[in-house]
Amino acid sequence: MQNMEVDQMQRQYLDYIKSLFLEGFLDGQFLQLQQLQDENNPDFVVEVVSLFFEDSERLLNDLTFALDQKGIDFKKVDAHVHQLKGSSSSIGAQRVKNCCIAFRNFCEEQNIDECLSCLQQVKQEYCHVKNKLETLIRLEQQIVAAGGSIPTMEFSF
């Protein structure tokens, strides 16, 4: 028997996740992840997202270091960005992925200034999506703690 509080939480959750899609923070790949979560792996999304956070932070540090060198190894920079592009794409972190695409183009051109600018942008986008995902997960956990189930979003776009 569902109470009003759970109802409200579910609506808040749906509104929130919808906004993340509309604002381009997440894309359909994130829904793929959610669909993979089941009774056998009830924490699958949290696990993958946590891995993404760890992996991204490591890569961003490596990128900062690589671009700080006197003689920048653009191949190395590109390799890191390629990794970040891959993981962000796989979890549906669309804005981060798009930043990486632009970043790789500048790596190819060996344009230091633009690369540094891209690094700043990708760090920002990463911070944004990290906050959003943490909020989303918190909302999910609140629903579950109150005895409700996480509603699935109807994805008509």
Binding site: Q29, L36, N41, F44, Q83, G86, S87, S89
Partner: protein
């Protein structure tokens, strides 16, 4: 989205559950492909690079098959872009071996480059799948494997 597949292949072993070796240097992608395959009732072993994959397949010089004889690999799915040995190079090594050349090898890539796809298909890849991987891609793959 899967692009290009050769005719259906048949599982070589009589086991009910396909054993898939998934190779990818990206940690998140490894976790994802593993879950997708498990959801399609596959047994999964993962490797983070080509040399490790060859080791697991028993194709390194010294020839020690580190996997139980009963767990013969029915399918290899590998990322194309990996540092050191690429997925293409791994594909070639598998197809050149006498023991493993019949094992289907699927290549995954985030980049839709026709020359890359053709190169892999010519070298004997069963299928080329675009990343990020979806459940429908893997279901299609495992359906072919099981028929």
């Amino acid at each position: 989205m899967a692009a290009g597949s050769s005719s259906n292949w048949v599982m070589e072993s009589a086991h009910d559950v396909p054993h898939v070796l998934a190779v990818d240097d990206n940690l998140i992608d490894r976790k994802l492909v593993e879950k997708l395959l498990r959801n399609s009732s596959c047994k999964v072993t993962t490797a983070e690079n080509g040399p490790r994959a060859l080791e697991l397949l028993g194709l390194t010089s010294g020839g020690q098959n580190t996997m139980n004889d009963r767990s013969k690999v029915n399918l290899v799915i590998t990322d194309y872009c990996m540092p050191g040995m690429t997925g293409y190079e791994l594909l070639k090594k598998i197809k050149e071996s006498s023991v493993m050349k019949e094992v289907p090898v699927v290549i995954m890539s985030s980049e839709n480059i026709p020359t890359r796809i053709n190169k892999c298909m010519e070298e004997g890849a069963q299928m080329f799948i675009l990343k990020p991987l979806k459940q429908s891609d893997v279901k299609k793959l495992t359906c072919q494997l099981m028929n």
